[in-house]
Assembly symmetry: C2
């Protein structure tokens, strides 16, 4: 059986306008990969109810897990919860545990726990809360969808509280062969190694620095023996073709 | 009439594994916004033929423009061109102008213009070449799809060669009101301003620094008079509520 699959849905006009640069896709991608969960797709979409509903439905059906970021704060543009609830035809209700956490968080501050902030305790019926160690207002899991804040520090803290509950798979082993030549010179070797060894993929990532260039050939797979054999074969063939190459440590 | 719409399709396993962090979505988002082209959606997908074909078809039909990044190099994992051609049921052919550019680029180097590199002259029939001022191998436009390299410096140089040909719209005006308070304290004001002024959106972006926090309230719209009136009203209401606030210069 293959690894579990996942998608990421980044919800926010500020990413699409370019005002804010997304950092959540790259961070979550690394985390999921290390858990053996295969990130199959990531999308950035606008703060629009029908758009969010439709993407939540299609991605949660297509993959084992869906992780969302953004749109669960106290203001009028925070519409993720209403949309996620609608996607699963659930009502939104004021969650008493979420209320208790927010009351505790605000009680010894001079911050007014007003109606806007109370909205952060509105959670789809039947959802399981996700702890927010940074600012209390919880995320939640509904079916296979994990709804998190968009602020990267909060999203990261939230993910850490539940990632051990995710069903992971075999983390892929990745071995990089650094080749001191352009990818065009080793394209035949990369294709041959990909053909010869089953269950691996070989990525070719050229890089450039002033006065220098090279190619990172990245062998990825789930079986350590095969990945090691394939990267060793790749290394030897690149050297035999007359180019410098070494395993990246 | 609204502004033209666009989507971005980032093609690459290395982004989904977290090995490489995407920089193209954020950069293109800023460029498109400044041209008055509304970026409606961005997706990151895997290097798989059927996946690429299906996303190219659906996004190119849904939006006025589609911009892709990645997968047009010389190696076996560069499969974007075959997939884009298949999406429009066009054959791929060796393009004589692309060949001429590559021959010129390599002729005074010690780089072998081998079969792998010649593959970079394979272009869908009927496509219009996009110049590559960095490394010669062209991108191309097929129908409303603009196919570019994934390396950010090359993508940016390519975009600059044709962006003047895109049909833009009215670049949105964006005025930021920096508020020295949490977003929960001004949520009512933000919602009221959004209600009162038509044709604008108000985004609320809380920020945190050691010992400090605040909210950037961002008023966006296509009509300067309305955006200015709305942000002025927002500023005055936040100050009247007893919080520090100023227009971001």
């Amino acid at each position: 059986m293959g690894n579990p699959t996942a998608a990421i849905l980044v919800i926010g006009d500020e990413i699409l306008s370019g005002r804010t640069k997304d950092k959540n896709i790259g961070w979550l991608a690394e985390q999921l990969t290390s858990l053996g969960i295969q990130l199959a797709e990531a999308r950035v979409i606008a703060d629009q109810h029908t758009v969010i509903v439709s993407h939540v439905q299609s991605l949660s059906r297509a993959y084992d897990y869906l992780f969302t970021s953004g749109g669960i704060g106290p203001t009028h543009d925070d519409i993720t919860t209403a949309a996620v609830a609608a996607a699963f035809e659930r009502p939104v209700e004021r969650n008493s545990e979420a209320m208790a956490r927010l009351i505790r968080h605000y009680e010894n501050t001079d911050i007014d726990f007003n109606e806007a902030r109370q909205k952060m305790a509105d959670i789809p019926q039947g959802a399981r809360l996700i702890d927010n160690p940074v600012s209390a207002a919880p995320g939640y899991q509904l079916e296979n969808v994990f709804v998190m804040a968009g602020v990267p520090s909060i999203l990261q803290a939230m993910f850490a509280t539940y990632s051990h509950r995710l069903t992971g798979g075999t983390p892929p082993l990745r071995i990089t062969v650094q080749c001191q030549t352009g990818e065009g010179n080793i394209a035949g070797i990369l294709a041959a190694v990909t053909e010869e060894f089953s269950g691996i993929s070989v990525g070719s990532y050229p890089w450039f620095k002033p006065g220098q260039f090279g190619t990172a050939a990245v062998v990825t797979g789930l079986d350590r023996t095969i990945v090691e054999a394939a990267s060793q074969s790749l290394l030897e063939q690149v050297i035999a073709a007359g180019f410098g190459a070494e395993l990246d440590s």
